[in-house]
Amino acid sequence: MSTVIPIQTAAATGCQTAPVLVERGQREVFCGLTGIIWLHRKIQDAFFLVVGSRTCAHLIQSAAGVMIFAEPRFGTAIIDERDLAGLADANEELDRVVQQLLARRPDIKLLFLVGSCPSEVIKLDLSRAAERLSRQYLPDVRVLNYSGSGIETTFTQGEDACLASLLPVLPRSQAPAPGAAPAQLLIVGTLADVVEDQMRKLLNDMGIAQVAFFPPRKSRAMPQVGPDTVYLLAQPFLADTARGLDAMGARRLGAPFPLGSEGTTLWLQAAAQAFGVPQARFEQVTAAPRARAEQSLGRHRTALTGKRIFFFPDSQLEIPLARFVQRELGMDLCEVGTPYLHRQQMEPELALLPANTRLSEGQDVEKQLDRCRQDQPDLVVCGLGLANPLEAEGMSTKWAIELVFTPIQGYEQAGDLANLFSRPLARKLKLVA
């Protein structure tokens, strides 16, 4: 059995060199602060303190309906006119707010000071503040900083900045003996707990014993990293984190992302090859879940084959998702928009896309909407600001943010992922009024 499943034999595959429509107009995307919405649930003893304006506080509480959490592990230190006018020393103010926060939440072990547009523009040095506060609160609380500002980060890049800020505090592992196999596999990028458990089991069953996940669920369980480490990106938006890991001597395994049956197989296979797992063993471990994934995809493939899909830029998941829906569900791609195209990391993904795929990077939302209306796709993947207005125009939409918040990676979730695309169409057929 071949490891690449020949679902569709595209006439010409690979759009690594295809032209990309680069646009620089209004971008209808979130800023990096939005990553806090899932990061604060992932790292259970961490708190995210945004140093910003009322807009920042309003964004986070509005963006994902997180008002459901009675008290979240995030908050905002709102800069006011006294801070701006220099009447108050911003650093003293920040120290006071941090003290107030930590007194309220003694369970917090890791505090992120998160920079915002206003804090960047007034050049508030949060890295020095974090150092100062760490000196004060360690060993109880470590204080780190990163920027989630919209002028520097787009949506999921906030996670990249957060993870990159953690790298300097990771324990270093030893250099391996020359010629030895890598000592551990690091999986990088936030995954749902259930997905982590499944991946760990598959990898363990192949004989890869040392598997660590980053970010960890608890801040005191940081993985070791060093020249004996190989890593796999679980998410496509971690360019800075990857660069940092490379600098620490870890080696990246290039692979498509673990979306869909094919993506998951290729992703796992990259790990299997690095650890010298025999092909037979790999087949034996993955055959059953792969068959289940195939089976669960079938129903959705029937509904989606030949349907046309348009991706607005949102999370940088667009290219891997486009590869999945095109190759495993038989959908036709109208346009695949991404906020940022990192060619090197996307190389294995681009190689699997049809050669004539219309890729766009950045956004000019009005022009993109014009193209979308022109294309009249069967399904539009877009942000929350655009979804209902497009529905009102008669299109079917899928909120892109749901693709970030739902467990979609791995074999067992392949059907769930497909369902996210088929449900809007099924719903439209169901509703008669």
Binding site: E28, C31, S53, R54, T55, S62, D80, L94, I151, N388
Partner: protein, 541 residues
Amino acid sequence: MQLTLWTYEGPPHIGAMRVATAMTDVHYVMHAPQGDTYADLLFTMIERLPRRPPVTYTTFQARDLGGDTAELFKTAVKDAYDRFAPKAMLVGASCTAELIQDDPGGLALALNLPIPVVALELPAYQRKENWGASETFYHLVRRLAKKSDAASPMDGTRRPRCNILGPSALGFRHRDDVKEIRQLLTRLGVDVAVVAPLSASAADLQSLPDADFNVLLYPEIAQTTAQWLQRQFGQPFTKTVPIGMSATREFVQEVAALAGISVPADIEADAHAVWYARSVDSTYLTAKRVYVFGDATHVIAAARFAQDEMGFEVVGMGTYSREFAREVRDAAKLYGVEALISDDYLAVEAQITQLQPELILGTQMERHIAKRHAIPCAVISAPVHVQDFPARYAPQMGFEGANVLFDTWVHPLMMGLEEHLLGMFREDFEFHDAAGSSHLGGKAAAAQPAQEALAEVTAHGDTAPPTAHSPAVAPAATAAPAVDTKPGIGMWSTDAEKELGKIPFFVRGKARRNTERFASEMGIQNITVETLYDAKAHYSR
């Protein structure tokens, strides 16, 4: 700097968006960094508007900051004008753009567009959403309103005519309030000329001065405008916000006086709230202790309805609307309480923890607090949630609004007889207090055991509000007392603690507090069952 977990209001440019989005042909160009477009989803997801807000953002990024952000803004204005062809334009900056000082107003004026362009100065580090809406509406009206020659005097030869001012996009029940008040005015024989900003065009704003008077529904958004129209065009406006029966009656009288008409005898035909409150099954509502928090208009009205028309007792009230602090303070005096004027969620939480009300009338934020303390809660004010835009007709204003208030506030409470039965047979395995009210599916309180909430209240005391994720909640029996007391005084005996557990959960917090205060005042070291009942007698008066 202020530590904020939740914010009651957005920044002032959100208020400007609420005005622009409410209107039909106004476009707002905002100088703002990437990410500020999140505000669109407030309208498309929370309010479920089927169209995008008429807002263009420059969405500048770091690389633009080194270049010419002013040019970026001018291009955005020009493109927006060409594409959307609005009849009037608003231009301004969000919080970050305010810091880079590009002067959006000056840049837009330099383009010499053939439409009115209103430059907004909305200081994001001082002001907030409602102020921003008020300021935006005021400047638009100032710029556009003109008395036409066609305006005829109110001389009895035609029906009196009024405008309705204040309803906006993303408002708490504004859509339904407008419908209700419009119906009420029509029945009174008054024509509605313009509703603004909701569903108004730029031309409508121009004709505002042609009406005989204004009906001011939401002072937070339109009082400044109504006052200006009065000064400028001698147009009077209504002062009573018609929320609740008494207020609606006053409002009707006010309108009748302004319009020079008499009130039809059957105007209250569909008002049921008065009789429902008088009917005997409502007896159990008597003197329920309520806490009221929200914007000024809704808080003042809700407190009045609660105390005078439901027979509740207002034990605390407050607002985040600093602009209307005086009005709320004055209203609070009517009920013998001091108003809390604060936009600090933690301060509101601390006050609720201390007061232990039996019902909270608040915002979505107070719902969190209520959930944590297992206190029933009804939402009376923005900030809004998707649930606050019901599909059905559910106004807050007018006679139907009073009906809605009655239903909405009674729903979360335990019904009278159910309350008695629970009190009498406390150990019933099925119908115990943690099971919650049967009419709410019996699951309401089970989600958060009352005992835990109670223990938190006690453990944290008055100064430090409890946290949802406290790693270890101190057992109630060993917890520090909730009221200020000398050390060693007011320790609970095991028997007294057990007896306290027999008191229904919705009054247990109050009983604990009273007992501890009693013990503290009397210098009692060890709280026994006797102390518990002595305190009950002492406070029952």
